[in-house]
């Protein structure tokens, strides 16, 4: 028995207590259990702290390192801010699910081996699905099922990879690996599914915006960033990640530009931001990995802040489309202010957290002389300002006057947002304080006059482009097709066609069976009228003995057929 509690278990206990307790006691658990978890996170020393036997293996449920503590810190902090934001509005089961989900994320942070990582990974998949379902609409239920299928599939792929690695190397250690064989590819793909990498990025923008205003705050924080952490720990310097990351960056921008739903804009920009991190992991130098970790930390804060401000708007107005919103700054100054700070931070405007973390990734690309990557990241930074930095606050809080005059945020939601505002600015103004917590020693100065000027030019002229191109960006009441079209429409169309074909085939088969039966009956009649057949002959079809393997096979075929028939 370890002499202290694993941080994930504290939060998991908190989730359980939220379900059991009522009233002020529950509120106390909601607010105190994340803080207790945060304290426990900082009690974990470096190295493997606890081991225990599991099946034939010795697993390491808790292993500390600066990188792991950094991610666990922001996860625990985020649970506190999210809890404060949500506790008066969210139903108890949404809170409990969100806390268990976060416990899974913190568990992954400290997982010393692949088995522990996988168990917590599935805990996340399970409870995040419940958080999506808590959106409590028809759309949320359907999206939750698609979300669950995607993550269970990702989990299976990850598990196949882990099994392969364990069988072939005999080691369950969580350590950097090369993507050279089937096993490691499976692990990489399993993790990338959670990171919302192509071609399945669509799950994120499909599910998150369907959750409740409070649920999306939690959802935005954990799954993708846990995947980034796993990539840093398992695949640092895997060059394919550079291009996957760049694709995600551009994908996020383009789809966010096309989008009308306020929260879906933010969801696409998660993919965009995680793309920066994935790209950094692909670059793989110490500065790049520092950048990935730092950017994940900063991103969780400003993205939650953005989702919080969007959540307040949805809670107060019941509307979530840009075409229905606008002009809300009049009566929601606090929410607008917080949303704008989040938008500036995600854009990486100097003096915000995004600037001190994202430029580190660009610098790492420049240092490795990856010219194309450096320039594409620069273009992407401009694009972030375009789609999230201006588009989101502009269409929600300014634009035209929608006539809506909602009240501003309730005090607890406002307080949660202001806490995050302080961190967005704090990390931007005092980067040195933050850099000391990064996994590697930091040799990087974000605030040189030249760099600040370069990014000011880049961003301000993006702003100019936005306002000049406004007529081209008029919002339409549309959605944009994504790869999820394949599994939401195409597969069903094919199955429909197959179904039609199978009815034709079925008719032919039944005719054949009927004819054969008639023949058999005729023959049987003929035989019965004569003497019994020779016993030396092979026994009848039903009297023959068959090997059990073949029987099992046929039962499997029958069951599959039954399941298919039942499903359609």
């Amino acid at each position: 028995m370890p002499e202290y509690l694993p941080p994930a278990l504290i939060l998991l206990t908190g989730a359980l207590l939220i379900g059991i307790l009522r009233g002020h006691m529950r509120t106390a658990v909601v607010l105190l259990s994340p803080l207790l978890t945060l304290w426990a996170v900082w009690q974990v020393p470096d190295g493997v702290v606890a081991t225990m036997p599991f099946l034939d293996y010795v697993i390491e449920p808790v292993e500390g390192s600066p990188l792991r503590r950094l991610f666990a810190t922001i996860f625990a902090g985020m649970v506190f801010a999210g809890g404060l934001y949500a506790y008066r509005l969210a139903r108890w089961y949404e809170l409990a699910a969100a806390y268990a989900y976060a416990a899974g994320a913190i568990g992954v942070c400290f997982a010393g081996d692949l088995i522990t990582m996988f168990l917590y990974w599935e805990l996340m998949a399970l409870f995040s699905t419940i958080v999506v379902w808590c959106g409590n609409t028809q759309g949320a239920r359907a999206a939750g099922i698609r979300y669950a299928v995607m993550h269970l599939l990702g989990g299976i792929i990850l598990k196949v990879g882990i099994e392969g690695v364990v069988v072939h190397t005999g080691s369950i250690d969580l350590q950097p690996m090369q993507v050279t064989n089937f096993d490691t590819w499976m692990i990489l793909i399993g993790i990338l599914i959670n990171a919302a990498a192509p071609p399945v990025s669509a799950w994120l923008a499909d599910a998150y915006p369907e959750s409740s205003p409070t649920g999306s705050v939690f959802l935005s924080a954990f799954t993708t960033k846990t995947a980034v952490l796993a990539l840093i720990m398992l695949f640092p310097g895997e060059s394919i990640l550079i291009w996957i990351g760049l694709f995600m960056v551009m994908y996020g921008i383009i789809y966010a530009l096309l989008e009308n739903d306020a929260r879906r804009i933010l969801a696409y920009s998660i993919v965009n931001q995680v793309g920066f991190m994935v790209c950094a992991v692909g670059i793989g130098t110490e500065m790049a990995l520092n950048g990935a970790a730092a950017h994940a930390f900063a991103h969780i804060i400003y993205k939650a802040l953005l989702f919080m401000s969007a959540g307040v708007v949805i809670y107060r107005t019941g509307k979530h489309k840009c075409t229905e919103l606008g002009g809300l700054f009049r009566t929601m100054p606090l929410t607008a202010f917080c949303g704008i700070i989040g938008a500036l931070a995600i854009s990486g405007v100097p003096l915000t957290s995004g600037f001190t973390t994202k430029t580190m990734i660009s610098q790492a690309a420049a240092n490795q002389e990856l010219v194309a990557v450096y320039l594409l990241l620069g273009a992407a930074s401009a694009g972030v300002f375009l789609h999230a930095g201006i588009k989101f606050p502009w269409f929600v809080f300014y634009q035209r006057d929608s006539g809506l005059r909602p009240k501003d945020a309730p005090w607890n939601m406002g307080a949660a947002m202001l806490i995050l505002v302080v961190f967005c600015i704090g990390i931007g103004v005092f980067p040195g304080l933050f850099y000391q917590f990064l996994p590697y020693p930091v040799d990087y100065e974000p605030y040189t006059a030249g760099k600040v000027l370069f990014y000011l030019q880049l961003l301000l002229f993006s702003g100019l482009a936005f306002f000049l191109l406004l007529p081209l960006m008029r919002r339409t009441e549309t959605i944009s097709l994504d790869t999820d079209w394949i599994w939401r429409v195409l597969i069903f169309r094919i199955l429909q066609k197959l179904g039609l074909a199978s009815t034709a085939v079925g008719r032919a088969i039944s005719q054949f069976v009927r004819r054969t039966l008639n023949n058999l009956l005729a023959k049987a009649g003929h035989h019965l009228s004569t003497e019994a057949p020779d016993t030396e002959e092979e026994p009848g079809m039903l009297a023959r003995s068959r090997p059990i393997g073949r029987t099992a096979l046929w039962i499997a075929v029958l069951l599959t057929g039954y399941v298919l028939a039942y499903y359609f």
Partner: protein
């Protein structure tokens, strides 16, 4: 952008908006002109050129907006697209 309305918020009055544009244009000019005084260190060559950040940011955004617009022609569907597909299925 916003409809002119005499009793509307000061921030959306045409006069304010004109002023904001003027201030914005001034700041834009300033960030480029500042390059005469502050040297931008080019890491890959071109990024140190005069006004590169401004031009690059602007051009990148125009390109992205146009590309999105083009994709939108093929990808945009009505909001109830998936519901209708389900009903057809």
């Amino acid at each position: 952008m916003s409809k002119s309305n005499s009793d509307d918020h000061w921030l959306v009055r045409p006069k304010t908006i004109r002023l904001l544009w003027q201030i914005f244009a001034g700041i834009l000019a300033l960030t480029v002109l500042a390059q005469f005084v502050i040297k931008i260190k080019g890491y890959v060559g071109v990024d140190g050129w005069f006004g590169f950040g401004a031009l690059f940011g602007f051009a990148a955004c125009v390109a992205m907006v146009l590309f999105a617009k083009l994709l939108g022609v093929f990808l945009k569907r009505g909001e109830n697209y998936y519901d209708e597909e389900e009903d057809n299925a």
